[in-house]
């Protein structure tokens, strides 16, 4: 459920909700971080849910001593009222069997708060691409039916490529074609929910591999920007992002794991005596 920071619920009618899917390379989450910090969006509330693994840390967008001590949780909502923009940042993974309930709760909140559309930033495994996809741009989009009528023409004018349908069961030639997003986390579920519940959902994704995915996130934000024109991506913001530049490559890879606190392995000694 959405819990506002202040005493009253903010008015989100007509806003565009940007959100990540926890996906390969954490590209969606990195892209949302870039948007929130560059546009200096302010926190307006929390999405308090039992569907995500709990985690806390200090303010990742701190610019000064004063705001560095604010606590951040696993699902927070930020807003830029002047541009009618709302961003939901997800910082941890879903608890088993809870991803679908989360999508349902989220989209029902989107409907009740009157958001105009939801844009999901995501990624998919680059090694799953077929021959055609290997030769083309790594960016793809998907639109739910209620978005298609208003936005399809814009996508075509931008020469964007829609996510192709591939065989539902890859090994079988005669199997049906459907949209598959390997490594995309809840992207497909959100998209399907959006289609069935008539919520305007757009998915923007990039084919990526795990590694230092900041350039992928920058690319994804530029891709989004071609359409929504919200931001001028500034590399210097990322340089100071989480003190990222001060860490070695191995540490950077580990730092990305802050977004996905992996569930403990059964039998892992580290989890035995956590005190």
């Amino acid at each position: 459920m959405f819990v506002p920071c202040g005493d009253s619920a903010p008015d989100l009618a007509g806003c565009t909700l940007l959100m990540p899917a926890v996906s390969v390379g954490n590209v969606g989450q990195l892209a949302i971080d870039l948007i929130i910090s560059t546009l200096n969006m302010c926190k307006i509330g929390y999405f308090y849910t039992d569907c995500l693994v709990p985690m806390v840390g200090n303010n990742p967008y701190a610019t000064a001593e004063e705001n560095s001590t604010e606590l951040s949780t696993n699902a927070e909502v930020y807003a830029l009222p002047s541009r009618k923009l709302v961003a939901l940042q997800l910082r941890s993974i879903f608890i088993k069997y809870k991803s679908k309930p989360f999508c349902e709760k989220l989209l029902s909140w989107v409907k009740s708060s009157g958001c105009a559309k939801v844009v999901v930033l995501s990624s998919s495994h680059s090694y799953h691409r077929n021959d055609l996809q290997l030769r083309s741009t790594p960016f793809r989009y998907l639109l739910s039916p209620s978005m298609q009528t208003s936005v399809q023409n814009k996508m075509q004018s931008l020469n964007w490529e829609e996510m192709e349908k591939t065989a539902c069961i890859p090994e079988i030639d005669e199997s049906e074609l459907c949209v598959r997003i390997p490594g995309g986390g809840i992207t497909k579920t959100l998209y399907d929910e959006g289609c069935s519940k008539d919520v305007p959902v757009a998915v923007l994704l990039k084919f990526v591999s795990e590694g230092d995915n900041i350039p992928d996130a920058l690319g994804l934000v530029e891709y989004l920007n071609e359409w929504l024109q919200i931001i001028k991506p500034c590399t210097s913001v990322f340089i100071s992002y989480f003190g990222y530049d001060k860490l070695s490559h191995t540490q950077r890879r580990k730092t990305k794991q802050i977004y996905c606190c992996t569930a403990p392995e059964v039998g892992s000694p580290q989890r035995v005596a956590p005190g």
Partner: protein
């Protein structure tokens, strides 16, 4: 197939689940793999969800019932009908999670006053295998709640079991309830292994054990140590408690001890000592030298002979 990983010094037994329950717990084993595999797993899980039969749903329901968190009163052997804080209004709540934090609280706080047990949380997961009965034997009392007899609005929790991700929200509901609680302050104490600590500095300059703190927006008191720097995060039950407090605007602080010894260790426990000077704990601690003696005794009774030659 049963593989046993018995290590008394870790004070817990690991077992891979028996064949018969592999159907239900397959999901948990899968979850321990890499992130990218997990996303794929999610997709497969969603497809399986669509093919789920009534039997699958029944198995999942039974597993959920087995993993339910229950609050009991051991004295009367009854369950608590309402959340703990609804039954026992609280102005100060101290939560010790993990064996070192529990030892600290036992020696320094609980020995400085008379505390009465008001409840006990019973839960089952792969690390904390309580038997499935309404009665809790003393060896299975991993999560016990007390209040101070002289001031019953001061509550204390000693939690030495691992509360799994899917149980943390339930634990919060059973303890805190689902409504916001003003006029209350929460202090959480726990440990993490120092290898979890991310810093740009050289690790040879880190002097373990050391304390770090995280606080919610409404917590106004001075801290006993420096704040946990980015990009470090906290998860598990301490994070669940702090998230709850942050969302519902309850003043709360987490004191996190980074140590290289995760088992019960005197130096690690003593690293929590700066916390005794905090406003919320100062009034609760009477005799520090005596508490230190009690702590030393606790250490020796818990020391297991680990010499393989005897």
């Amino acid at each position: 197939m049963k593989i046993s990983f018995n290590d008394k010094s870790l004070q817990t037994t690991f077992e891979y689940p028996p064949e018969s329950s592999l159907q239900e717990e397959e999901g948990e084993a899968e979850e321990s793999e890499e992130e990218e595999q997990e996303e794929e797993e999610d997709e497969e899980e969603d497809e399986e969800g669509r093919r789920e039969t009534p039997e699958d749903r029944e198995v999942r329901r039974q597993l959920a019932r087995k993993r339910e968190v229950r609050l009991l009163r051991r004295q009367t052997k009854t369950s608590l009908e309402v959340s703990l804080l609804e039954k026992y209004p609280c102005s100060k709540f101290i939560i010790a999670i993990g064996n070192n934090a529990v030892a600290f609280v036992s020696s320094f706080i609980m020995n400085s006053g008379v505390w009465e047990e008001v409840g006990c949380a019973k839960l089952w997961n792969e690390w904390c295998r309580t038997t499935d009965t309404i009665h809790l034997s003393p060896t299975e009392a991993f999560c016990v709640f007390y209040h101070l007899k002289s001031n019953p609005s001061v509550l204390l929790c000693q939690c030495s079991c691992y509360v799994a991700e899917d149980q943390q929200f339930q634990w919060l509901e059973k303890v805190f309830g689902s409504c916001s609680r003003k006029n209350m302050q929460v202090t959480v104490l726990t440990c993490r292994h120092v290898t979890d600590y991310k810093t740009a500095e050289s690790t040879s300059s880190l002097h373990t054990p050391f304390l770090k703190a995280l606080k919610t927006q409404n917590f106004r008191e001075p801290l006993c140590c420096s704040l946990l720097e980015q990009p470090n995060i906290v998860h598990d039950l301490p994070a669940a408690v702090l998230s709850y407090c942050q969302v519902w605007k309850i003043p709360a602080v987490l004191y996190l001890c980074y140590t290289d010894v995760m088992k019960l260790d005197l130096i690690t426990v003593e690293a929590f000592k700066p916390v005794l000077s905090s406003r919320s704990l100062k009034g609760l601690v009477k005799n520090i030298p005596q508490s230190t003696e009690i702590l030393k005794k606790l250490m020796t009774t818990n020391e297991i002979q680990s010499n393989i030659y005897t």
